[in-house]
């Protein structure tokens, strides 16, 4: 492989796309590195698919610039862009065989016709579909169709592979398999993959980095662990499945520290957050989250240094490896606790203390 000539594989600067009155993508800027497996995550209608189609050239941006491998392709039509896409429902040509589907784009690569067969065979072998050359798309299973779509895109040796909900049309069992396969494939090929998904687990499991999108904007970009552990906004936190939101009042707590006073008059001290969250003035309203698995229920108030909120246990959901407790705080707020065992304090209707280590407090906007 030749060393990358441009700093980024895909660079998007201030891209917007409006459909009439609706703004689908609103001033998005992001850069995707060479060989990166990048996820665009968000609820449906957040603009993630439109962004992918903008990269592919299937939509023309209303504003902004798209650079692929150092070349400005903002005005380049889709058939001349060095990217290929795996469509959500795969969009295989129903009138062509597997072989013909995979060979479809080779005509435009300037390769002599006699070189096609070898290329097609190589691509089909890569996705383990050799022997299926003469089948028609309607004679294949969902997983096989997806592999044809992959082969059809990869045979053209794109600089970036775009995938629109690559696992969306597969059943649960197949998803896990394909997830691993996609990751292996991406590592083998070393090209960057950009994929769209609405499933946060999929994004966490698959991507090197991800952008969480909401209402046409990027809410947060980062490594999966960063976004999962340290969501910056309530919206990202909610989307990543962090169920426990707390509201507190900021208090003076010495240099580099922030005191938080909960409505239940419990207090805790956390490291003061830097920009863009802080600084907070005493008396400011502070929203923070604690992930369910970082919370614990105790019968008695815990030792000093731990935060504690008095709660009532409302329900218990046994999940095999873990148990969920649904509890209600003094102001009627609901919290979810996820733990391994069944502590005595946690019977239904019991009063208990919700405890956590202050270092697991994540302040959000």
């Amino acid at each position: 492989m030749t060393p990358p000539s441009a700093p980024h594989s895909v660079e998007i600067r201030g891209i917007s796309k409006r459909f009439g009155e609706v703004t689908a993508v609103d001033g998005v800027s992001l850069a995707i590195g060479h060989g990166e497996l990048f996820a665009l995550l968000g609820p449906s209608g957040c603009g993630k698919t439109t962004l992918l189609r903008l990269i592919a050239g299937l939509e023309a941006p209303s504003a902004g610039t798209i650079v692929i491998d150092g070349a400005d392709v903002t005005r380049t039509p889709p058939h001349l862009r060095p990217v290929n896409m795996v469509f959500q429902q795969y969009a295989l040509f129903p009138h062509l065989s597997v072989e013909e589907n995979v060979a479809f784009g080779l005509r435009y690569k300037g390769l002599p016709r006699r070189a096609w067969a070898a290329k097609v065979a190589e691509a089909l072998a890569l996705v383990r579909l050799d022997g299926f050359e003469r089948r028609r798309p309607d004679e294949l299973s969902g997983g096989q169709r997806q592999r044809v779509a992959l082969a059809r895109a990869l045979v053209l040796e794109p600089k970036v592979l775009l995938l629109d909900e690559p696992l969306g049309a597969l059943d649960q069992k197949l998803r896990k398999e394909v997830q691993v396969e996609l990751k292996t494939l991406q590592r083998t090929l070393g090209i960057s993959f950009v994929f769209v998904t609405h499933d946060q687990e999929e994004a966490l499991a698959l991507s090197d980095r991800m952008a969480v999108m909401s209402r046409g904007r990027v809410a947060q970009i980062g490594k999966p662990a960063e976004i999962f552990e340290r969501p910056e906004t309530e919206l990202v936190a909610e989307f990543m499945g962090a169920a426990n939101f707390f509201t507190a009042e900021a208090r003076e707590a010495g240099p580099g520290l922030l005191g938080l006073r909960l409505p239940s008059s419990a207090t805790l001290t956390v490291p003061a957050p830097g920009p863009p969250l802080g600084p907070f003035q005493p008396g400011d309203r502070v929203r923070f989250i604690v992930r369910p698995e970082k919370l614990a229920l105790r019968a008695a108030p815990p030792e000093k240094g731990f935060a504690a909120v008095p709660v009532t246990v409302e329900d218990r959901v046994y999940q095999g490896a873990s148990t969920l407790w649904l509890v209600r705080g003094p102001g009627g707020e609901r919290f979810t606790v996820c733990g391994p065992g069944d502590p005595p304090a946690a019977a239904n209707g019991a009063r208990a203390f919700l405890c956590w280590d202050p270092e697991h407090t994540v302040i959000v906007r």
Binding site: R53, A56, G57, L58, P77, P78, H79, L80, V83, N84, M85, F87, Q88, Q89, A91, L92, F93, P94, H95, F104, G105, R107, Y108, K109, R152, A153, L156
Partner: protein
């Protein structure tokens, strides 16, 4: 596989209405026509009675009408009908594809029904009246000549009416909706993501059209071609009104045999030949579609 025979047996009573309608209104008349075509014309029109059937068969007189239909003058009319119908079909396809594409793919959703409605609106007026309208447009002092003269494009009226050109205009005009509607139906069903996929894989506009749009709308194209070609082949109103006596088509010839020449046997023979030709064409189409693995539409 095992359920197949039972299902077929169960379908017999359900198919009865179909068979009754087809039999009464298609097979029986066709058989009558075939029978008449083997007879001879009576001295005062009608059918000459056959007194000795065996002698009649032995004399070969029963094939007389078919032998006569092979005379050069009739073959010429037949040939003219075929290429007029073919030309009509090609022109209809050429005009209808962009129209249907525009309505099905390019037009905003809320415009579709209006545009489709406009295609169908002419059906509210009798075909005969619409063909008369073309006479008023095409004749020497008609609308077209008057406007061209008025604009100074021409200085003498063009001879348009009563020419093959006028017949062609009338045929194309009359058959256009029958091409647009099936094309629209198949273009409407076309999965847009396939067009996106083709473009993404490197095909330009022409490549997408040739390699994806056309093959996938082939059922609509074939249906339109069949729906336009067959009626054009048997047309006689348009050629009668717009073509005068100079552009006689096989439809006019058949109609003449019944209405003017009072020769039903010869008319029946010609009509039966036309029907047979059309059926052979449909058979060829069905075989072609089966061979290429396509869906047989008719």
């Amino acid at each position: 596989m095992r359920t197949e025979p039972r299902r077929t047996r169960a379908a017999v009573p359900l198919l009865l209405p179909t068979w009754i309608v087809l039999g009464l209104f298609f097979l029986v008349p066709l058989a009558l026509m075939l029978g008449v075509s083997f007879r001879e014309r009576g001295v005062y029109g009608g059918l000459r009675p056959v007194i000795d059937l065996l002698a009649y068969l032995r004399s070969g007189g029963f094939l007389g009408n078919y032998a006569r239909s092979l005379a050069p003058i009739y073959l010429a009319i037949g040939w003219r009908s075929v290429w007029m119908a073919a030309l009509t079909t090609v022109l209809c396809l050429g005009i209808s594809y962009p129209v249907a594409y525009g309505i099905a793919v390019l037009a905003p959703r809320r415009w579709k029904s209006l545009l489709l409605g406009l295609v169908v609106v002419p059906f509210w007026t009798s075909f005969l009246i619409r063909t008369y309208a073309w006479m008023f447009i095409l004749r020497s002092e008609g609308l077209l000549n008057a406007s061209l003269l008025g604009c100074g494009v021409i200085h003498r009226p063009l001879e348009l009416l009563y020419t093959p050109f006028a017949v062609l205009v009338g045929l194309v005009y009359g058959e256009l909706p029958f091409m647009i509607l099936p094309l629209y139906a198949s273009l409407e069903k076309l999965d847009r993501s396939l067009l996106d996929a083709a473009a993404d894989l490197g095909a330009g506009g022409a490549g997408v059209f040739r390699r994806v749009t056309v093959p996938l709308t082939m059922p609509g194209i074939v249906a339109g071609v069949v729906l336009v070609f067959i009626p054009s082949l048997g047309q006689f109103v348009v050629s009668d009104l717009l073509g005068g006596a100079k552009t006689m088509l096989i439809g006019n010839l058949i109609q003449n045999q019944f209405a003017v020449a009072r020769n039903p046997p010869f008319g029946s023979a010609l009509a039966f030949e036309l029907t047979a030709a059309v059926l052979l064409l449909l058979l060829a189409y069905a075989l072609f579609m089966r061979k290429t693995g396509g869906e047989v539409l008719l």
